[in-house]
Amino acid sequence: MNDTFEDRLLAELKTEMAIRPARAAAPRRMTGRRIFAAAGVLGLAAAAAVAVPMVVGTDTPAYALTKNADGSINLKIHEFRDPDQVERDLAGMGVTADITYLPLGKWCGNLRVTPVDGDHLSMSPEELASEDPAVTEKARKRLLSSISYKAIEMRNGITIHPEYIKPGQVAVIEVAENQVKPTDSPGVVWSVRGHLSAGPAKPCQVVDQPGAFEVGDATPPPGS
């Protein structure tokens, strides 16, 4: 750890910025297309957000991004507590990332990314509302085939695959970590969401996510 009080305080202040109530913005009319796109990204959130039940082990290992032989990069969730450091380290590995670290129960409620080619994130309102397993499974398969999901894989914490990230694209990752270690097993320890953006991400507008503490039917990703 060669960072200083100055760096650590900056990271805390940025977290504070992220969880501050977003300043009231002038209401803007949305076009039909934009509503569709927003719903699509929220749809992806439903499919790709991963709530992780109780993780065993209490010690926090030393900070280290792991670069694998195939060029992919592993990040463990506790490492996101210093989002600036993660951004710098990823930049050193050639990946531009925009990391937002939030307490569990908060979430970015706005569409932050500029969609990239190869993402199929749009879901129709019918698909979002459908309870037909065949329909949701088809939508889920389509989301999982998106480039975003290949580039930011929910495995071993998060596994980033730089080969899917084109120059100029940004890996936008939002992590919400439970500030209280869940005592009831199972409890949600963290929750994560990742998208590619064709350019810089818009600032996070933080909203409450009341259901975040419920495990629901989420399954832990392999390797966590």
């Binding site: 009080f5 305080l9 900056l10 805390e12 504070e16 910025m17 977003a22 600036d84 600032p203």
Partner: protein, 190 residues
């Protein structure tokens, strides 16, 4: 497209702009505090408080009314005054970020060095302790913190003419106090 008046409003919303502002002024803020507080942990707590206050009040900055640093020293001074009204324990309990928890031993020794380096300034401020509060605040910002009289006026939210009168009065009063080093209190004229 709307012409953008770049004040500091963006720094409360834009992490990149905030980081640039923070890096630009972090050292000045810790020095400002080290001139007024003798304990590294308290300096760390207050540094966190000052930058939180910056986030809360960035929209009050008006570029026309003085430099960034003058505005920032105004924020830092208000933070210190608020802290002196509350007990230190209360401050920590209510703070959103406990600065001292972010300190490691290297940081503590760096802050101690800074506090030591600022000891002449603290002695100068002790010499000013007998001045009326308004005059003292102004003289501190000019003679100890190095602001111009116009910047100090902006930091305190007073008119420049008022500041000149108060500075003149404060300097005259100080010349009669034994032990004050004249060059120190005479700096910052413009």
């Amino acid at each position: 497209m709307r012409l953008k008046q770049t004040g500091l409003a963006d720094i409360a919303d834009d992490p990149v702009a905030f980081e640039a502002f923070y890096r630009r002024h972090f050292e000045a803020v810790t020095r400002f505090l080290a001139r007024r507080v003798g304990d590294p942990h308290a300096v760390a707590d207050l540094t966190a408080e000052v930058f939180l206050a910056v986030l809360d009040s960035a929209h009050t900055y008006r570029p026309g009314k003085g430099s960034e640093i003058a505005w920032l020293y105004g924020v830092a001074r208000n933070t210190l005054l608020a802290e002196r009204r509350r007990s230190a324990r209360e401050l920590r309990a209510n703070s959103r970020i406990a600065g001292r928890r972010l300190l490691e031993s290297d940081d503590v020794s760096r802050l101690e060095d800074r506090i030591d380096a600022e000891s002449p300034a603290r002695r100068a401020m002790e010499a000013m302790a007998g001045l009326p509060e308004n005059d003292r605040a102004l003289l501190e910002l000019v003679a100890v913190d190095g602001l111009s009289p116009a910047e100090a006026a902006a930091a305190l939210g007073i008119r420049q003419g008022t500041a000149r009168v108060r500075l003149h009065r404060a300097r005259r009063a100080l010349q009669q106090i034994p032990g004050v080093v004249p060059p120190l209190v005479m700096e910052g004229h413009r």
